[in-house]
């Protein structure tokens, strides 16, 4: 007889809440055909409940750690964990979802009856990624990854009246499924080499035994990193990003990009830093190589973009490289802090794009930003601060984030990587500055100021976070420092 694993409700409570919320949105929509505002309340309540349950988990995790009892943080026979790392990442995901939906609300509302679909898909995607960051097992991780990714493919194609949106969805789907396949193959090879799916199991095995023929494991790690590298748009797996960012509905791109990056990097960090920490000598050069390639390609290609969304996509590639330096550095707090900061800034930046491009998100060429500083000073000011924050200017949180990961990488003996990274940061400044030049230093014709809807709340929060955590980073840094994986 098979004994079913003991069910630990609290371990999956936030995910469950979001899944139920998604179903609820669809049911309410079918039953009452309410105004979008009502669905907004439902989704808001869902996210609030999920966040609240995550806080409960946090308290439990802190108690368990204080008692030295990490075993109780693992549930479902080791499939799921409730460690600080998972909880912190989940918080970031929920925050990005809330902000992302607010930023894209005008688009969602404009979809009419299909709006409920969009909301449900967003909630499902977050559920999947939230499971992914909490999974302690490669198969579980893959399940979360697929749930999240498939929802994102559909979201990218939601504005199906526009050809670019369809193209984005198809491209994202085809390349994304290929990446998932690569990931699964990597998992299979790791299993072949170690006989384990569990992250902790792999770590114990590698710590206790010398693997006589580790080549299979090495290839497996390489494929897993490649598959996840696709999700976080690290070079050379980034080719989908510009087209998807350009084609997907403007309001939702920020969400789509942010959650994929957070979940992808959380998974990379957990797999490499926990499961394969003993093989670091093998994967460090590879990850450092990906990091350099991403930083250089991303920054240089962003310089020549004439479209703000493509520019942000390439800057995202560069950011993937910067976060990779944190993986090289091997400290999870630097990575988590960076992810939290970047996710918020990214959603904020795309909220601006959504305002400028309009709800359905037609064009976003740099030309449309000409003279924005005069047309809508507040919007342009917010965008400037967010761009400078992404660039990593001191006094913004982006600088603290960069500083953290660079310091970790230097301490690990990768001085050259840090030097490449700081130079790439300067190149990155050059293209952020380009946008600012267009907004402020060229005069616009007499144009009406843009109408800013609920995006204003997203912008206020994102700008506030960028500056406050730039000046007083300790509140978030302390949390990130506590959020260790088991």
């Amino acid at each position: 007889m098979i004994t079913p694993p003991e069910i630990s409700w609290i371990a999956i409570a936030p995910d469950l809440a979001m899944a139920i919320g998604a179903a609820l949105v669809l049911l309410v929509d079918v039953q009452w055909k309410p105004a979008p505002r009502v669905l907004g309340w439902v989704v808001g309540a869902t996210l609030a409940v999920a966040a609240g349950l995550t806080v409960v988990q946090w308290a439990g995790a802190a108690d368990a750690l204080a008692a030295g009892d990490t075993g109780s943080l693992v549930a479902f026979s080791g499939l799921i964990t409730m460690d600080g790392f998972a909880i912190f990442s989940r918080f970031v995901l929920i925050a990005a979802t809330g902000l992302g939906l607010t930023a894209g609300w005008r688009f969602v509302a404009s979809l009419g009856r299909r709006g409920a679909e969009a909301i449900a898909l967003v909630l499902l995607a977050t559920t999947g990624f939230s499971l992914m960051v909490a999974s302690n097992n490669l198969v579980m991780l893959f399940l979360g990854l697929e749930v999240g990714s498939i929802a994102l493919y559909v979201l990218a194609g939601l504005a199906r009246e526009r050809r670019e949106s369809e193209e984005a969805a198809i491209k994202y789907f085809l390349l994304g499924s290929f990446a998932s396949a690569v990931f699964v193959y990597g998992v299979a090879l790791i299993y072949a080499g170690t006989g384990q799916f569990g992250i902790l199991g792999i770590r114990q095995l590698l710590a206790g035994f010398v693997i006589s023929s580790p080549a299979v494991i090495y290839i497996g790690i390489g494929l897993v990193v490649a598959g996840l590298g696709f999700k976080v748009s690290a070079a050379p797996f980034h080719t989908w990003a510009p087209d998807v960012y350009q084609g997907a509905p403007a309001g939702l791109v920020g969400y789509l990009a942010a959650v994929a990056k957070v979940a992808g990097f959380a998974a990379i960090a957990r797999i490499l830093l926990t499961a394969f920490s003993d093989l670091a000598d093998t994967w460090l050069p590879v990850v450092a190589g990906i990091s350099v390639l991403s930083m250089v390609l991303g920054s240089v290609l962003a310089l020549v973009q004439g479209d703000v969304r493509r520019l942000l996509a390439y800057s995202g590639v560069a950011h993937a490289g910067f976060i990779m330096t944190g993986v090289v550095g091997g400290a999870t707090d630097g990575i988590l802090f960076y992810l939290a900061i970047y996710a918020i800034q990214l959603v904020g930046a795309f909220a601006v794009v959504a305002v400028v491009s309009g709800p359905d998100g037609a064009g976003s060429s740099l030309e449309q930003y000409r003279g924005l500083g005069r047309r809508s000073p507040l919007l342009a000011g917010a965008f400037t601060i967010l761009l400078l924050g992404m660039g990593g200017l001191p006094v913004t949180s982006g600088f603290v984030a960069k500083f953290g990961v660079f310091t970790d990488a230097w301490a690990r003996g990768y001085e050259w990587l840090v030097i490449v990274a700081v130079i790439a940061s300067v190149v990155a400044f050059a293209f952020y500055i380009r946008v600012i030049v267009v907004m402020y230093m060229d005069d616009a014709g007499e144009e009406e100021p843009l109408r800013v809807g609920p995006e204003r709340w997203v912008l206020a929060l994102a700008v506030g976070a960028t500056i406050l955590w730039g000046i007083f980073p300790s509140s978030l840094l302390d949390l990130a420092a506590d959020a260790l994986p088991i």
Partner: protein
């Protein structure tokens, strides 16, 4: 007290921000009034500052303890004059900006934030904090050049930004490296200058770190061959931008070399003397020669900066009492005279809307007061005895001679060349008969403009006649820099390079 000095301009900026944009007429007067407060505080600080080595009025609060970052401010004889200079020139630069009618509010806010950044950078004793200020002030300056500049402003602004950001990126890497070396040697994290200065670094590492810092500051100074951004930035910037850029921002480079390079990397500094001194002398001569042939008055003053700042670097790396004192004094002098020259060029430009020397001639007749002030500033810049420039250049040259005799002799020609380019420019612009009609109908300086120039002129005379006022405050700190180098390296200060060897500064 120092914290409030940094925060006062920020507070002023916030106050201005709260005034509605349509009340255009009060933004500028209000900001001038507000920016007098930091000046008053800085003046008080100068008054109560005890001439002694070491940092005074230290404010130290942990910022993020696990990384060892502190909000750590302190003032010594090297930074004190710079603080006073900064706080003095900001109100003057603002008051000189009445011609800016477009987006005054933003302009004022950027200028005040720039002031906060500059003060912070001069006071910071924590390398992380210093870097934050050093980098953060780029943005306001970038906007000031890019929005209110002349035709090629965007190009100049971007060039300025990228050059400086590149330099500071390397410095950031070096700061990270230093802090981690400290952490591995001492077991605790710190970015404090005093902690990091005591590190034992391998020779190679120390030289690399020195180079990273030196390049960042050399771009800022700017030292030949990193100077190419400067003429563009100066020429395109509005008057206030040029004044603050020349008078204060460039000084961060020379200040940084003196404060950070000499203190953090004494061995590498001693080894780098020939390189830095030769670059400085090339800058002195090259800047002067290029200035002679400039057709544009503003560009001429810009290149004269390259030449004058060469003296400061030469004095710094001579590593003698006179050299260092001269460097600090010359920091102030150049800020005053070049700041004033840029103001004057701006005033001429406001009247004639051209900066080309060939468009002028005989202005003396129509605007005698302006001509008089210009001649006065020219004399100060050339180093006429009795004015401030003489004190600074004399100290630098007399201080450098024992250490680097041949280079000092070459550098001395820079003084002669300065006389050529400035007096020749004066001759072409102001003397003769006004043969162009537009030049004969100009109005002379207004009361406001005179009020801007008089404080600078008074300081120039005071420093020129009674340098003890400044030297007393400076000397203990510069001597401490030398003592530190003697202590940490086997370098011997060339005789007669120390105070008391040859002449007694400060009139003891």
């Amino acid at each position: 007290m120092l914290t409030s000095l940094v925060l006062l301009p920020v507070a002023a900026a916030i106050v201005v921000m709260l005034i509605p944009g349509r009340r255009k007429e009060i933004h500028l007067p209000l900001s001038i009034a507000l920016s007098v407060m930091p000046l008053a505080l800085a003046g008080y600080l100068f008054w109560v500052f005890e001439p002694a080595a070491g940092f005074q009025y230290v404010d130290r609060v942990p910022w993020y303890e696990p990384w060892g970052i502190d909000w750590y401010l302190g003032v010594d004889g090297i930074s004190l004059p710079m603080i006073v200079l900064t706080t003095l020139l900001v109100p003057i630069a603002l008051a000189a900006s009445t011609t800016i009618t477009n987006r005054t509010k933003e302009f004022v806010i950027y200028t005040l934030l720039l002031e906060a950044g500059m003060i912070g950078a001069f006071l910071a004793l924590d390398l992380f904090l210093f870097f934050v200020f050093f980098e953060a002030m780029l943005i306001p300056m970038y906007f000031i050049i890019g929005i209110w500049g002349t035709e090629r402003r965007v190009y100049a602004a971007v060039k300025f930004f990228i050059y400086t950001a590149f330099g500071s990126a390397l410095m950031l890497a070096a700061i990270i490296g230093l802090a981690l070396t400290y952490a591995s040697q001492e077991g605790s994290a710190s970015f404090a200058l005093s902690d990091l200065a005591g590190l034992d670094l391998a020779v190679g590492t120390e030289r690399i770190f020195f180079a990273a810092f030196a390049i960042a500051f050399a771009i800022k100074v700017p030292l030949f061959p990193f100077h190419t951004w400067l003429p563009d930035a100066h020429v395109e910037a509005p008057t206030a931008g040029s004044v603050l850029l020349a008078a204060v921002l460039l000084k961060l480079g020379t200040y940084g070399l003196l404060r950070f390079n000499l203190a953090l990397f004494p061995d590498a500094s001693v080894d780098a003397i020939p390189i830095m001194a030769i670059l400085a002398v090339i800058g002195i001569i090259y800047g002067a020669v290029v200035a002679i042939v400039q057709p544009d008055l503003k560009k001429l003053v810009a290149y004269s900066s390259v030449s004058h700042l060469g003296f400061i670097v030469l004095g710094t790396f001579a590593l003698t009492s006179g050299g260092l004192q001269g460097a600090v004094i010359q920091n102030v002098n150049h800020g005053l005279t070049t700041g004033a020259l840029f103001l004057l060029v701006g005033m001429i430009y406001d009247r004639r809307h051209t900066k080309k020397i060939s468009d002028f001639g005989g202005l003396q007749k129509t605007v005698p007061l302006l001509a008089g002030f210009f001649l006065f500033m020219t004399f100060a810049s050339i180093g006429l005895p009795g004015l401030n420039g003489f004190v600074g250049e004399f100290l630098v040259l007399i201080g450098s001679y024992p250490a680097l005799p041949s280079l000092t002799v070459i550098a001395a020609f820079g003084v002669v060349l300065a006389a050529i380019y400035l007096l020749w420019a004066y001759e072409r612009v102001f003397t003769g008969v006004p043969d162009k009609e537009e030049n004969s109908v100009l109005s002379d300086l207004s009361g406001r403009e005179i009020a801007l120039l008089v404080p600078i002129a008074v300081l120039i005379v005071v420093i020129g006649l009674y340098p003890k006022l400044l030297l007393d405050k400076i000397t203990p700190s510069t001597e401490a820099v030398l003592d530190n180098i003697v202590e940490q390296t086997d370098f011997t200060i060339p005789e007669p390079g120390r105070i008391g060897d040859v002449f007694v500064a400060g009139g003891e």
